[in-house]
């Protein structure tokens, strides 16, 4: 080989090595260390004696660390509860840290065996509850404890609040905020035009026609929130088909998306899309920007969402909008559940890791949060009810949305339902894809059904995914 060739060869190698060096970050992104697995000793600081004032035996003058998802509700409500704990358990010190990257931030701490004492595992980057269920404390003793006013906590809560946080019989998470899912609209706009919120899908389609006459749309959506329409569809289908539909979806049954009630709802939605009642362009619009087109520009009449919507859009809602919620439309007159039936669930799952240094302290914060003072503070500042009953006065602190939530909840009575399979198996990300395509008219109801089924089947057939059986 001539020297020139040699020279090129060496340079080539150097450049290759350099390219390799750039390829490495891709690998190390996936290769976080599992080294330093901590000892198994749990609740090392537990040592205080248990009493009604200190039901979990939080050690005297101990420190507690809480990591709270800093989203629509902020984190100051936990700071408020932390203040209560510091007052009740004299000498203790509670630190509350906000985070928007729960999974990324806490993953190494779970692996290292030193997780914080209390986590609000919420938001787009929440840890799949199923993934860490084995490493969490059973929180049923929090519900069994007495609150700061001396009443047993369980007796102060709405019924069914433990359902979303129960995995295979163990209460691993306490969902703090009572969320009502509904179709939200501007009561003032509806009143001015003599419209009423649709009680059936046929009425919805008619309303779409009326909206179009006024150059408005019936619905709109944003790309990250396309699955809000899935939530709407499932709720409406469960009202139609009852537990049969709910359990088929929850247990990822084959052809669960082809059940007649689900198909009926999807077909109605398909008509809405085809008639042009859906504001085009949602697939390229950031979701809060899209929501502002509804709450501020009033480009569309209805928006399906959870009750966090009022707080989320607070600064971008038109004056005198009078945000009000209505239950999801029914499909047929022979539906198994009445129109007033409501999709409502407790949200914002708080978990206490078993390996936390001061698990008792974490539970103590929860106890403070579930007491009257902190729960009322939350309802008042966030305009959302917690799972604690009776914290919202009749006038809803002057909020029409909060007032309508109370009306919907009392109208529903015991016909309140929810489901968890989307969150438990972390399917939302995959489901966004067909929903965006469906809402923008790229695929029809049949195409949507096929893609949703294949996402569901993929999880159902994946032996490495632990299944949660719902009965």
């Amino acid at each position: 080989m001539d020297p020139r060739g040699m020279q090129v060869g060496r340079r080539t190698i150097l450049q290759l090595a350099f390219a390799g060096g750039l390829a490495v970050p891709a690998l190390s992104l996936a290769g976080c260390a599992t080294g330093g697995g901590g000892s198994d000793s749990s609740s090392t600081a537990a040592g205080g004696s248990k009493s009604d004032k200190n039901p979990f035996g939080m050690a005297d003058k101990s420190t507690v660390e809480a990591v709270i998802f800093n989203g629509g509700y902020g984190f100051d409500y936990v700071t408020f509860a932390a203040g209560v704990v510091q007052k009740e358990q004299a000498g203790s010190k509670v630190t509350v840290k906000p985070s928007t990257q729960i999974a990324q931030e806490l993953q190494p701490r779970f692996v290292g065996g030193n997780p914080p004492d209390l986590i609000d595992n919420s938001g787009a980057n929440a840890i799949g509850l199923n993934t860490i269920a084995d490493q969490l404390e059973d929180l049923s003793d929090v519900f069994a404890a007495k609150n700061l006013e001396g009443t047993t906590i369980k007796d102060t809560l709405y019924p069914g609040v433990e359902a979303p946080g129960t995995i295979n019989g163990k209460l691993v998470a306490i969902n703090y905020v009572q969320t009502v899912y509904a179709l939200w609209y501007s009561a003032s706009l509806f009143e001015a035009n003599g419209w009423t919120p649709p009680k059936t899908w046929d009425e919805a389609i008619q309303l779409g026609g009326k909206a179009k006459a006024q150059k408005k749309f019936l619905f709109l959506w944003g790309k990250e929130a396309a699955t809000y329409y899935q939530t709407l569809a499932i709720a409406s289908a469960i009202k139609e088909g009852g537990d049969e539909v709910r359990l088929a979806l929850e247990n990822l049954k084959p052809s669960c998306w082809s059940l007649a009630p689900v198909q009926g709802v999807l077909k109605a939605m398909e008509t809405i899309v085809k008639n042009g009642y859906m504001k085009p362009g949602g697939g390229g619009t950031q979701f809060t920007a899209a929501q502002a087109q509804w709450s501020n520009d009033q480009a569309a009449l209805l928006y399906p969402s959870g009750s966090w919507i009022e707080n989320e859009m607070k600064s971008q809602t038109k004056a005198d909008f009078k945000m009000t919620g209505a239950p999801e439309p029914s499909l047929t007159a022979s539906a198994k559940m009445p129109y007033t039936a409501l999709h409502s669930a407790a949200g914002e799952p708080f978990v206490v890791p078993s390996k936390a240094k001061n698990a008792a302290g974490g539970k103590e914060i929860l106890r403070a949060m579930l007491s009257k003072e902190a729960a009322t503070n939350f309802a008042k500042t966030k305009l959302s009810p917690t799972i604690v009953k009776g914290t919202v006065p009749e006038d809803g602190f002057g909020s029409t949305a909060l007032k309508s939530q109370g009306a919907m909840l009392s109208g529903a009575g015991s016909d309140v339902f929810t489901w968890n399979f989307v969150d438990v198996y972390g399917m939302n990300q995959d489901q966004l894809v067909p929903w965006n395509a469906f809402l923008s008219g790229q695929i029809d109801a049949a195409g949507l059904t096929k893609q949703l089924q294949s996402i569901t089947d993929k999880v159902a057939n994946d032996a490495s995914v632990k299944k949660v059986e719902v009965k």
């Binding site: 260390a33 599992t34 901590g38």
Partner: protein, 332 residues
């Protein structure tokens, strides 16, 4: 460091033996020299091993396990993760998207930046000395501008520009009477999402590579251009016959840089279409890896994706080198 003082005595050669064939003379290394080597080579290598090679090995090991990411326990499952990847239609879609990016983005960026570089260096008036266009320094500054903006900001700016209802792009298009762009979701339609994404990446990089090529072209002796011009070559011919062969190595380097960027592209995708775009048409391997690890809690599978991505990147570099070798020919 006090130890790094060259001591001359140690450089003296040891007494030579009587043998006719002397062994290569071997200097005994002084303490200072050892310390010097340890600091300049050993320390970086230690860091490199700890923070680069070890994670590399770790990722490979995890890729053979079913580690969920949130505990310190896992089982080895052999190559099951890799098998799962080969049957994972979403991941395969991401691989195809990445390959498309790696084909188009470097090519278009290099063609455009080379054209611009040529214009501002040798594309000017064809009388007098070889020079660029008038006011070329202004063009140079203007086109370098996007590179001074961080990638995430570029992504966010353009996602607002392409906003269907209030974006500038649709505003301009509907403003000149093209009503079909009313609420047109550039980033939400399968047919436009990927081209628009590529456009944004290319927009961000053309200026930088233009500057790179300007430097390379400035390094070419101007006699070559003068001679070519005397021989009657026009601008295009000069570019093809003089500029291109002379900046070949720079193009190769640029191609590899851009290819690696295209195989990653995470930042741009996160800003433009964080959820993978319509029908996953802009989903990249890095995004799928991220979702699999943090949203689905399957770190073993995600590590396998990382290993696959690294292998793809290395293969890409090897392909570029091979093509460059083959087309250069062996005659020189």
């Amino acid at each position: 460091m006090t130890a790094v003082v060259p001591s001359m005595t140690d450089v003296v050669a040891p007494p030579s033996g009587s043998s006719r064939f002397k062994r290569p003379r071997r200097r005994r290394m002084s303490r200072a020299r050892i310390v010097f080597i340890l600091i300049t080579l050993g320390l970086p290598f230690a860091f490199y091993s700890l923070f680069v090679l070890w994670p590399f090995v770790q990722a490979f090991i995890y890729s053979l396990t079913n580690w969920g990411g949130f505990s310190d326990t896992f089982e080895f499952v052999g190559l099951a993760n890799y098998k799962a990847l080969l049957h994972d239609d979403i991941f395969l879609k991401a691989v195809r998207n990445n390959l498309l990016l790696a084909l188009v983005v470097p090519f278009v960026t290099i063609v455009l930046s080379l054209a611009l570089a040529t214009m501002v260096t040798v594309g000017g008036s064809s009388t007098g000395a070889v020079r660029g266009l008038d006011r070329s320094s202004l063009y140079r500054i203007v086109s370098f501008f996007p590179y001074t903006i961080p990638a995430i900001v570029i992504g966010l700016i353009w996602s607002q520009m392409f906003d269907p209802s209030s974006g500038l792009v649709n505003g301009l298009l509907t403003g000149i009477g093209l009503d079909r762009f009313e609420s047109f979701a550039w980033l939400g339609e399968v047919s436009t999402a990927m081209p628009v994404t590529m456009f944004v990446i290319i927009w961000g990089f053309v200026g930088f590579y233009m500057v790179l090529f300007i430097a390379a072209i400035k390094g070419i002796p101007s006699e070559l251009y003068d001679a070519a011009r005397v021989d009657g070559a026009g601008r295009v011919r000069m570019t093809m016959m003089v500029t291109l062969p002379m900046v070949r190595d720079t193009i190769q380097t640029a191609y590899i840089y851009l290819g690696i960027l295209a195989l990653d592209a995470f930042v741009y995708m996160a800003a433009l279409n964080a959820s993978g775009g319509p029908q996953n048409s802009t989903l990249t391997m890095t995004q799928d890896l991220f979702n699999t690890a943090f949203k689905k809690g399957q770190f073993g599978l995600a590590s396998a994706m990382g290993v696959f991505l690294a292998a793809t990147t290395l293969t890409f570099a090897a392909v570029v080198f091979t093509i460059n070798r083959l087309t250069r020919g062996r005659d020189r």
